[in-house]
Structure formats: structure tokens, C-alpha cells
């Protein structure tokens, strides 16, 4: 596929989805999602470093700023982050398996399905705790000292 054939979809297809970089098989989507989730997590990480750097300004500023994270809207938005992390974790393990396990390539598609299944499972498990407080489940509390 050359640039001309891609036409008006060139930006989305040719560049962003990577159709012009390589025409993979099922792995193309695993690659695209890995890249997308990675960039999303990086964006959050930079925001997160900025918010922890507010610790220097003292408790009033810090608590004001990070109380945003426990508002219902941001709790819901955190689900996107949790989903991205879970996908990136399990697909990352799949990539390492393809690289270092000699039969990894042969089972790449099965491993992708397994990675997706595990990511969805862990996303649900984790997500319940994150959005629970919106609906009155898992009301905010502090765990034993060992978990701090």
C-alpha cells in the first residue's frame, strides 16, 4: 500500500495506525493498542509527577489539588487508565514471550487472546474498587499500616 492508495485516510491509516510502517497480521492491532496505551499512560505519568511535586507546597495546596482524583468524573476517567495499564502489562508479557521463548511466535495469537482476557479480568477486578465509592461501595477508608 503506498501513500496514494491510502488517500484521505492517510493520516489515520498510514501514519497513526501504522499501515504504512508495516502491514502486520493480527499483531498489527496488538502493536497499535500497545503504542496507544503506552502513550496514554505516559501522559498520565507526567501529570502524576506534577501532582506529587505539589507536596513541596504543603498540605493545603496538595490536598486541594489531589482531591480532584476522588471526584466521580475523574474516578470514571481513571478506568481508561486502569484499562490501558492492564492491556500494556499483559501484552508486554506477550511481547517478551515472543522475543525470548522460541515457540513464542507460533502462539502469538493465542497469547494475545489470553492477554486480552487477563487484562479484561484484572480491569474489572480493579475497576470495581476505583469507581465503587461513586455508588457507595468500598467507601473510602485507610487500610492497615502495612499497606501504606
Amino acid at each position: 500500500m503506498d501513500r496514494g492508495q491510502v488517500g484521505r485516510w492517510s493520516l489515520l491509516g498510514y501514519r497513526i495506525l501504522g499501515l504504512g510502517i508495516y502491514r502486520g497480521q493480527s499483531g498489527q492491532w496488538s502493536w497499535f493498542l500497545h503504542r496507544l496505551s503506552g502513550l496514554g499512560i505516559l501522559a498520565f505519568l507526567l501529570v502524576h509527577i506534577i501532582d506529587i511535586s505539589l507536596l513541596e507546597l504543603g498540605p493545603t495546596y496538595y490536598n486541594d489539588a489531589i482531591s480532584i482524583f476522588s471526584t466521580p468524573g475523574i474516578r470514571a476517567a481513571s478506568l481508561i487508565l486502569i484499562a490501558a495499564v492492564m492491556y500494556h502489562v499483559f501484552n508486554g508479557l506477550r511481547i517478551i514471550a515472543i522475543d525470548f521463548w522460541p515457540s513464542g511466535v507460533r502462539y502469538q495469537q493465542q497469547m494475545w487472546i489470553a492477554a486480552m482476557a487477563l487484562a479484561i479480568l484484572c480491569f474489572i477486578g480493579m475497576g470495581i474498587f476505583v469507581i465503587g465509592p461513586i455508588f457507595g461501595f468500598f467507601t473510602p477508608g485507610v487500610g492497615p499500616l502495612v499497606f501504606m
Partner: protein
């Protein structure tokens, strides 16, 4: 199979896994760093998520929570290692994404310089925040009693 012809030392297989750079050098170290830091980060991030979202809740992970946690230097070390691994794993990813999409030399130079600037700035911001945190008395806390009152 089409591969990225513009950078022969960095190819992606048809299975969505970047191939190990054959020519060695920086790209090979980058390739190994991705995998090594990725494995470590899984452990760090799982523990971090369980502490911040399951054992506790974001409503309670406020200033006093940090004060209690950071009384223990090992938690500072834990957080700092996680932060540095995540930052350089992520920015190394951004570096490769820029190489893939930004083709004109000048724009690539500008973008890659931006990545290094981000690396320096956020390394500094994160390190200062974690290593120099010194708890001050806090009148009100959402969940926990402050160790200093």
C-alpha cells in the same frame, strides 16, 4: 511483511513485537531496557495500584497519608525507583514513536530535543518531590491522623 525501512536497526515483526536490533549499540540497549524495566515495572505498578486503590482509596491518599508512608525511607526508594523506571520506559517509547511519525529532520530534532527536555524536567521534579519531602503539621485530613498532629 512490510517493515520500517527508514530505520534498519529498528524493525517490527508481523506479530507486533519489535525485533531485537541486530546492529547493537544504543538501540540494542534500548530494546533490552524496555523488557527489563517492563518486567520490574509490572511488580512495582501492581503493588502501587493495590496500595492506592484497593487497600486504601484515592480519597485518603492525601498529605498525611504520604507523611506516614514517607516516614519509612524504603517507601521513598520504592516510589523513586518506580517513577524513574516508568519515566524512562515511557519517554523511550515516545522517542521511538517520534522516530516513526516525524520524518522531516528539523522537526524530528525539535521533537527529540523535547523528549530529552521532558526527561530532565520530570526526573528533577519527581526526584525532588520524593527525596526532599518533609512533613509539616496539617490541621485537617480526610482519613488518617497526622503523625505530627
Amino acid at each position: 511483511m512490510r517493515i520500517n525501512q527508514s530505520s534498519p536497526n529498528r524493525k517490527i515483526s508481523a506479530y507486533g513485537a519489535p525485533q531485537r536490533p541486530l546492529q547493537g549499540g544504543f538501540e540494542l540497549y534500548s530494546w533490552y531496557f524496555f523488557r527489563f524495566s517492563g518486567i520490574l515495572l509490572i511488580g512495582f505498578v501492581v503493588v502501587h495500584l493495590l496500595i492506592m486503590h484497593v487497600a486504601n482509596d484515592v480519597h485518603c491518599t492525601a498529605y498525611d497519608f504520604v507523611a506516614i508512608r514517607y516516614a519509612n525511607p524504603y517507601w521513598r526508594l520504592f516510589d523513586w525507583m518506580m517513577l524513574m523506571l516508568a519515566l524512562f520506559h515511557g519517554l523511550n517509547g515516545l522517542r521511538i514513536v517520534i522516530d516513526d511519525y516525524v520524518r522531516p529532520y528539523t522537526w524530528r530534532l525539535v521533537a527529540q530535543s523535547g523528549v530529552w527536555l521532558l526527561a530532565l524536567t520530570f526526573f528533577w521534579l519527581g526526584t525532588i518531590a520524593i527525596l526532599t519531602f518533609h512533613a509539616v503539621p496539617n490541621p485537617g485530613s480526610p482519613c488518617v491522623a497526622h503523625p505530627l498532629g
